[in-house]
Chain length 244, copies 2
């Protein structure tokens, strides 16, 4: 008997941001599979198998989940945030695309979650309040020149921008290049938000004008938001007006 | 005594997509205020005042909410989807920016919700699986030329795109101009998704190649997603690979 596969978003960290439909899927799962720190968020219980794997093995993890479902499991693949934003949903469909035809017969659902960008924006005010873009700064899967090209075009379009995966130990220098580009092309007063560990007890929201932004203000747990030319501050909040 | 103001996202329609933190804020509210169809989603109860208002009066609604909070209410402003995405959060901060200084002293929180774009993407597969942008097609608050300029630049950047408010009775022709631009600039096979009434019993997800897209496929309840050049189909799902 074929099982089912749910690709679910756990939100950015707070229990109170997990949607009821994701909680229900987890309650009914026989198997939960995902990156180590995300599976660590799932409470163990009888009848539930937890499968953790390391970063950068997304396709292997996706295939493992599809095999478990094919053997009859009620499998939930967990991502932080939203599974469709720089997370596991695309990896699962890539695996299906190149996998055995029976995988296409599975009962598959994607359950959205609160993505880091929108939790960070809410914590800061409403910096994504008008047209915006989201860019993954990691060059694991695309050339870094394409990242810089997209940022240049986004500046020209005057989008607010959210940067996922801005900086890691393996990529310490690229975010410096991004800041160089922004500092050369945008006003020094442009607001930039460094939102770390959003919605967790360690949440830290740091707002600076672009001229004061430094590469070391970001790490792998940071979501960076660059305002549009219209983004401004009122009191402790940052927002982008609707006429922008 | 000053009250509090919460700006909360109700998600796209399904009860099961309302986060527990938003549900808790609604449970504790003395006043809920918002656009008529969103307030209609809130169950009446003793001690809760419901304040509905029409579309296009966002600043007046924001001021009303701020006044109620200043008088001691536990006020929740409700938006569909996420309050920070083309919704009430920016309007509230605009009102504070031009309002009396006491409004800056209020206890204000923004609670994120599942935005239509990500619920539509999940229902379709993972079309926003790599870099993307979100554009409000309404020209109520910006010139339409700016909309077209942003779409042109987004094509050049090869973002997947989400279009909010693509078409209304007051603006029946602009979405046709958007399709003209896309059809002139992108391949005829480019995938476009018309996602209507996402997560409700009336949900309808319609995927067509750009060559077959027609303006009347969208209305005010439709969220439109245009794939990047890499976006593809596997079975009934649409996804954008992570290498894009």
């Amino acid at each position: 008997m074929m099982g089912s596969l749910v690709i679910a978003g756990l939100g950015p960290g707070a229990e109170a941001m997990i949607t009821p439909e994701v909680a229900a899927a987890l309650d009914q799962a026989t198997d939960v599979i995902g990156y180590i720190p995300y599976v660590a968020r799932i409470a163990p219980r009888d009848g539930l198998r937890l499968h953790s794997s390391d970063n950068r093995v997304e396709l292997d993890r996706a295939r493992h989940a599809l095999e478990l479902a094919t053997r009859g499991g009620r499998v939930v693949v967990v991502s932080s945030g939203d599974p469709g934003v720089f997370a596991m949903a695309s990896a699962v469909f890539e695996a299906i695309d190149s996998g055995p035809s029976e995988w296409r017969e599975l009962d598959i659902r994607v359950l959205p979650g609160i993505t880091a960008m929108l939790a960070a924006a809410a914590a800061a005010g409403a910096p994504m309040g008008h047209d915006f873009c989201a860019i993954n700064l990691s060059d694991n899967l695309k050339p870094f020149d394409l990242v810089l090209k997209r940022i240049s075009l986004a500046l020209e379009a005057d989008f607010a921008m959210a940067f996922y995966n801005p900086r890691s130990k393996a990529r310490p220098h690229q975010f410096a290049s991004v800041l160089d580009l922004l500092q050369a092309r945008a006003e020094p007063e442009r607001l930039i938000i460094f939102a770390r560990a959003v919605s967790t007890p360690k949440q830290d929201i740091h707002v600076v004008p672009l001229r004061d932004a430094r590469p070391e203000m970001a790490d792998m747990r940071t979501l960076v938001i660059v305002g549009s030319a219209a983004t401004r501050q009122v009191g402790r909040f940052v927002y982008t007006p609707r006429r922008a």
